[in-house]
Subunit: 342 residues, 2 copies
DNA sequence: TCGCCATGCAGAAACGTGCCTGTCAACGTG
DNA sequence: CACGTTGACAGGCACGTTTCTGCATGGCGA
């Protein structure tokens, strides 16, 4: 390449990177020759020299061999999409990596930093990355004293309390919970908030838990919950498929929604706007979370100082639909709603 | 590192990579010291030296700034997940890259090869990658003479013809189509198959098309289709949200499904098993496609010879549910179905 | 005319591997 | 004892950048 343009390697580098003291004529000449030859500088060599790869990792916890968390899939998909977008907008590419895998993919990839989803206490991946001096930003408030660079999360406790109040205001007398038996922070915090709320209003907790990564177990658990002798007259489901599962279970037991059973479910899916009846959902705003996480990470990589805190709490949104309104509004043909763009 | 172990750089490299002629004692010693120091070989240097990065790209066409195709989102999410899994299982990591972006992310990432989703004819990304000598495997039969290394696709024509026959057998007299007005191969082939079928059976085509990347336009188009004077008594929707949109539209017009209107929709979503009524779906088997695409790509990267063709056709699956059966079976409480694992 | 500075470019080191070649000792073997 | 053979490592180059330093050249003021 340098030979083809009749200049030195240095001049090529300077011309393409806009550095050095070169007259515009030389710069143009070099660029033109590069264009003609289809020359692309080697990313590997650049990374080796500069120490920056332009790659950030997105680490997901694994159930079995599947690299993604299955249950929060719509959440995760939206979050990953937003993260990818945000990374690309700042010139970075995003690599999805599993927390554990047979091959040691980690050492094959040069990363500038990593996003970690819901890290466990003493997470070995995080501690290793921090030891290497890489910035780590977590989606989900880190448990214990995990030394992450920054984190982003919802206020799950407030969201659940608010939602339960909403159900109570709609006339619910006994609110049930469909939850997971995993130990992740989201499930723990949400369940704890539910129990706290029950204690506060003096209601006996009514809940069923199931392995949230098993797509079949949810329907069974929903059935179990509505089959109980102390059947709730309102249910909150923590996971995305719970809404349709609960609706199906309600139909099997001849329960009308919302007359006999109020329903809310945590989901990012738009299908709940078109179910019969439409189901009220709690959105965790995964797009905002994915964007925020990547922004914080890249800021840390590029040494941008944050005078503010390195914690960000993203507000949740309760999208109220027919399923949680005891006195449903007159149904009209409503115009399709524009999706929110955040 | 070499100094700490008291050996040469060569010995370290050989010890860690299992090469050279070293006694087990030395090998163990080196590995132990590496472990103690937390030493990780530089991925960038290895890539520079060997020319292999262990990274494969997944290129998605973009609508506006969003890096993913919106409409086929469930399809894409599943496909990307399977591709990531398959790559990781063979020691590769997967990077999601947009076909076009402001920053030139492409030249910042050293790729061993790329998967391209539904490339257009004369796709500039593909031709550039091929020029660089990188293997390219496409999801979707490449249009024209695009020089891809291999490709994987469904037989969209056969799938649509089969599905229309199914609807006709269920008693449909006039089948409508809800389709997109984009020029991608999937939409083109499916629409062409529909028109061909209509011609064969002597039915006037009844279809509405809309910009498939716009999540709102689908509901409007569904409404338009059912408002026509020549209202169809069966509809096939090409895109994932069409099922719920059509169901909602049918309710608005007081049409019972499946008594007054038969419904089939191409979707990977499991929610259609729990709608009222459950909707028959055509699955394109994105997991199998994602896996196959990555296997072919890595085979090409590693120089695995294929005696067979470098084209793979993945069979589709029509999941028949109540919405396309004129005489619905007695509804019973059915046990949750295990999801197929392919 | 001479020194001086700005301009325009080239040389060369360094990044950390992988791999090819070289060296040296120990070890049979005729 | 001379000599090939083998084991066990070390030396050194190359990969393709970036960047620091250095060397000409020419214009300009003193």
């Amino acid at each position: 390449m340098a030979a083809a343009a009749g200049v030195s390697i240095t001049t090529v580098s300077d011309a393409l990177n806009g550095k050095g003291r070169l007259p515009d004529a030389t710069r143009r000449h070099v660029r033109e020759v590069a264009e003609r030859l289809g020359y692309r500088p080697s990313a590997a060599a650049r990374t080796l020299r500069t120490g920056k790869s332009g790659l950030i990792g997105l680490t997901v916890t694994t159930y079995g061999n599947e690299p993604f968390t299955f249950t929060e899939f719509a959440y995760f998909a939206e979050m990953a999409r937003a993260a990818t977008s945000a990374a690309l907008a700042r010139g970075y590419a995003l690599v999805i990596l599993p927390a554990t895998s047979r091959h040691d993919v980690w050492s094959n990839v040069a990363l500038d930093g990593t996003v970690v989803i819901d890290p466990s206490d003493q997470d070995p991946v995080v501690t290793e990355l921090v030891r290497q001096g890489l910035p780590v930003v977590s989606d989900g408030r880190p448990a214990g004293t995990l030394p992450v660079t920054a984190w982003v999360d919802n206020d799950h406790r407030a969201a659940v309390l608010d939602l339960l109040d909403h159900l109570a205001a709609a006339g619910a007398r006994r609110i049930g919970l469909l939850t997971g038996n995993t130990t992740d922070t989201y499930t723990r915090l949400s369940t704890a908030a539910y129990l706290h709320w029950c204690e506060r209003v003096g209601q006996d907790p009514v809940y069923e838990s199931y392995p949230a990564h098993d797509p079949c177990a949810g329907a069974v658990a929903a059935d179990r919950l509505l089959a109980r002798p102390d059947r709730p007259d309102a249910v909150y489901g923590l996971f995305d498929p719970n809404g349709t599962d609960l609706l199906a279970a309600a139909r099997r037991y001849g329960l009308r929604v919302p007359e006999d059973l109020l329903l809310v479910c945590c989901s990012e899916s738009t299908v709940y706007a078109a179910t019969e009846p439409p189901i009220t959902t709690l959105s965790l705003k995964p797009r905002r979370i994915g964007t925020a996480v990547v922004q914080l990470l890249i800021d840390a990589i590029e040494g941008v100082e944050h005078d503010g805190p390195v914690e960000q709490v993203i507000p949740t949104e309760l999208i109220v639909r027919t399923s949680s309104q005891r006195r449903p509004p007159r149904t009209t043909v409503s115009a399709p709603r524009s999706p929110s763009r955040d």
